[in-house]
C-alpha cells in the first residue's frame, strides 16, 4: 500500500503533463474520427469539382448540369496556378472544362476530347468521374442516333442516367455507428500514447535509484512493491480509459448500443496492455526522452503497420503477417468485424478469437514486466 500511496503522490506532482497528454490525444481522437467518416468510404456524390464551360451552348449547359448533379461545385477562377493550389489542397478533386465546339462535335457524332480535366492525384474517384462523363457522351450519341436533335438527346440522356439501381445494406445500423467505429479504430493509438506518455514518467521516478533504495531497505516485499506499482498503473489507466469513454459517450452517445459492448471490451483489453507495457518500459528505461522515443516509434509505427491509420484491407499480406505479433493488429481486426469495416462482416467467433489473443498479449506483457522489475531490483 505504501508504494501505491507513493505512486499517487508522484502522480499528483506530474498531473499537468498527464492532463496535457490526455487532452491533446482526445483532441486528436475527435478530429480524426469526425473527419474520417466523411472520407474513408467512397461516395460518388461527394466529389468537389470546378467546372468551366468554354462552349456555352445549350448542349454544353445541359452537360454541365448533368456533371454538377450530386457533386459539390466550387467556384474558382480558370487560372492554372489557382487551380493547382486548389487541387493540391484538395479543395477540389477535379477541374473539368467543357471544350469549345462541344455541341458541334457531339452533333457530328464525334466523341473524343469533348472535356479536358486538370488533376494532381490519380485515383478511383476521378476514374469514376471520367466514366460518368463517357457514359453521358455515349448515351447522348445513342439518342442522337435514334433521330433526336442534340438538345432533346441531352435531356433524354440526363433522364435515362438519373435512374439508379436500388441498393440495400445488409446492416442498416452502419451509418449511425460509422463515427463511433472510427472513434474505436483510432483509440489504440491515442490510448497507448496517452497512457505511456503520462504513466511512464511517473513509473520512471519510482524506479529512480534513490527512491528504489529507500523502498528496498524497508520491510516491503518485492512482490508487494510490484503489486503497488501495478495497482497504481491500473488506477491511472482506468481513469484515462474512463475519460476517453465518457468523451466518446458524450460525442457519439446515441450509437452506444448492442454490439458496441464488444468494442468497449476490446478497448479495456488494449488499455490493460498499455498499462503492462508502461511498467515494462519504465523498468528498462530511466529517461523521459528515451521513453518518448519508444512511445512515438511504437505508437505511430504499430498504428501504421496494423491498420489503425491505413485500413487493413490496403496493407500487403506480408505486412499483415508481420503485424500479427502486435496486439494492435488483433484490436483492429476485432474492430473491423464489430463495425463491419474493410469489407468484413460482424462475426462473433472472430471477435472472441481476437479478444482472446489480445488477453494473451496482456498476460505476456505483465509477466515480462514482473521479470523486468525483479531483474532491475537484483541489479540495484
Amino acid at each position: 500500500m505504501q508504494v501505491y500511496k507513493l505512486f499517487l503522490k508522484v502522480l499528483k506532482k506530474r498531473l499537468l503533463p498527464a492532463i496535457l497528454f490526455t487532452g491533446i490525444f482526445i483532441l486528436i481522437l475527435f478530429s480524426i474520427s469526425s473527419s474520417s467518416s466523411q472520407t474513408e468510404t467512397y461516395k460518388p456524390s461527394e466529389l468537389r469539382l470546378a467546372i468551366f464551360d468554354e462552349d456555352n451552348t445549350a448542349a454544353s449547359k445541359l452537360a454541365v448540369k448533368y456533371i454538377s448533379k450530386g457533386n459539390e461545385i466550387v467556384k474558382l477562377e480558370n487560372d492554372d496556378d489557382k487551380l493547382l493550389d486548389a487541387l493540391y489542397y484538395t479543395t477540389i478533386h477535379y477541374a473539368i472544362t467543357v471544350n469549345e465546339g462541344f455541341e458541334q462535335k457531339l452533333s457530328r457524332g464525334e466523341t473524343d476530347d469533348l472535356f479536358t480535366v486538370r488533376y494532381v492525384h490519380e485515383n478511383y474517384s476521378n476514374a469514376l468521374a471520367d466514366s460518368k462523363m463517357n457514359e453521358y457522351v455515349k448515351t447522348v450519341s445513342a439518342y442522337i442516333k435514334t433521330g433526336q436533335d442534340i438538345e432533346t438527346a441531352s435531356k433524354s440522356a440526363a433522364k435515362t442516367l438519373a435512374v439508379h439501381t436500388k441498393v440495400s445494406y445488409q446492416q442498416d445500423t452502419r451509418s449511425s455507428e460509422e463515427m463511433l467505429s472510427f472513434f474505436f479504430q483510432y483509440l489504440p493509438y491515442v490510448l497507448f500514447s496517452a497512457v505511456l506518455s503520462s504513466l511512464g514518467p511517473v513509473l520512471i521516478i519510482l524506479n529512480k535509484k534513490e527512491v528504489k533504495d529507500r523502498t528496498h531497505c524497508s520491510s516491503i516485499k518485492p512482490s508487494q512493491e510490484t503489486l503497488g506499482k501495478i495497482l497504481g498503473a491500473v488506477t491511472f489507466v482506468c481513469a484515462v480509459w474512463a475519460v476517453f469513454m465518457i468523451a466518446g459517450l458524450y460525442k457519439f452517445g446515441s450509437a452506444y448500443t448492442g454490439k458496441v459492448g464488444y468494442a468497449v471490451a476490446n478497448s479495456v483489453i488494449y488499455a490493460a496492455f498499455s498499462a503492462g507495457l508502461s511498467i515494462l518500459v519504465s523498468a528498462l528505461v530511466s529517461n523521459d526522452n528515451v521513453l518518448n522515443v519508444i512511445v512515438q516509434i511504437f505508437g505511430l509505427g504499430s498504428s501504421f503497420l496494423c491498420g489503425v491509420f491505413v485500413p487493413q484491407e490496403f496493407l500487403g499480406s506480408g505486412v499483415l503477417t508481420a503485424a500479427r505479433v502486435l496486439p494492435a493488429y488483433w484490436y483492429i481486426r476485432a474492430n473491423n468485424s464489430i463495425f463491419s469495416l474493410s469489407d468484413t462482416v460482424f462475426d462473433k467467433g472472430e471477435i472472441m478469437m481476437c479478444l482472446g489473443i489480445e488477453i494473451g498479449f496482456v498476460a505476456v506483457i505483465f509477466a515480462a514486466a514482473f521479470i523486468a522489475t525483479k531483474l532491475s531490483r537484483r541489479k540495484a
Partner: protein, 385 residues
Amino acid sequence: MFLHNFKYELLSGMRVKEVVIWLIIFPIALGTCFKVAFSSVYENTMVFETINVAVVEDTDEFSAQMFRKVIGDVKMEDEPMFKAKYTTKEKALKLLEDDKVSAVIFEGDPFEGSGFKMTTASNGLRATIVQSFLDQYSHNAELLLTAVSDSGSGSYEDIMSTLSAEVNSVAKKQMTHGNTDMYVQYFYNLLAMVALYGSLSGLHIAIGGQANLSALGARRNVSPTPKLIQITASLCATFVQEALCTVIAVTYTRFVLGIDYGDRLGFVYLAAFIGGCLGVSLGFMVGSIGRMGMAAKNAICNAVSLGLCFFSGLMDGGMKAKVELSAPWFNRVNPAALISDSVYCLNVYEDMSRYWEKIVSMIVITVILTLLGFVMTRRRRYASL
C-alpha cells in the same frame, strides 16, 4: 567568448544521448515502419482486382442469359471485372455474410421494366463499382428499348454499335510532373516531426540558462559572460546539431528508403534545416515561459509538436486539406505544415516562389519565437535559490 561558448556548447550537446536517440534513431525507425506499411498500399488501392458477386436468378431464360454474358465479358485493366456465382437468395445472402462476395445482385429485367436490386454489406469502392455497372446496364437497356419503340431515323444496329464503342471524351492534363504518390506526404510530415522535436534541444538551452531550474543555469548566472552571448552561442550550436540530425533524416529517407523528393534535393535539405531551427526556437520560447519545471515544459513541447504534426497530416494524410477548408490561416502558421509544404512544393511545382514563401514564413516564425524567448529570459535576477 562567443566562439568559446559555441565550441563547448556543441561538444556537450553531442554528448547528450537523448538528442542523438530522439532526433537520429527516431526518423530511421519510424521512416522504416512507414516504408514497410506503405510499400504495398499503392498496389492494394490502385491495382484492380476482380470483384466477387452473387447473382440471384429471378428472370426468364433469355434475359438471364444476356445479363450473364455481359457480366462475364466486362473487363477492367484486362482483368475480368466480376466473378459471378449464380445461386438462390438465401445462399447469396449467406455468401455476403461470410464475406465471400462484395454484393448480391437480384436479377431484374430492364427490358420488362423491372430494375436490378443490390444488397451489400458496406458502401465501399467495390460495391460502388457493382452499382455503377448495373446502372450502366439498365441505361443501355432503356436506350435500346427507345430505339426499338421510336420511329426515328437510326437503326437498332447503329445504337448497339454506339453503345459498345470505346469513348474517350475526357482529355486529361496532369498539373504537375512531380511525385504525386499521396503516401510520400507521410515522409514530409516525418521530416516535420524530426524538425519540431528539435524543440527538446531548444528547451535545454532555456532551462540551462535559468538558475532556478538547473544547476548549470545557477553556474551560468554567476559567471561574468553576458547572457545574450551565452544564449546566442547555445542557440547557434543547437542549430548546428539540428542541421546534422535533419541531414541524417533526409539522407536516410532519400537514399536508404528511396523516397522520391524530386530533383532539387539541396533545397529539401535547406527546408529541413530551417524547419529544425524553427523547432529549436519553439523549444527555447516554451522553455523561457514562467517557472514551470523541466517535466512540465517537456510535456508541453512534446504535446505541441505532436498536435502541430497531427494537423499537418502525420496520422491522417487528409488532415491538412480539411484544415485548409475550415481554417486556411492555420496552415500558413503551423510550423509542421510549413515544413512539409515546402518539401511538397519543391516536388510538385516547377515555380520556386511557393517554396520561398514557405521558407520565409519559417524564418519569420523562427525569429519571432527566438525574440520572445530572449525577451522572457532577459534581466531575470535571483535573490535566493
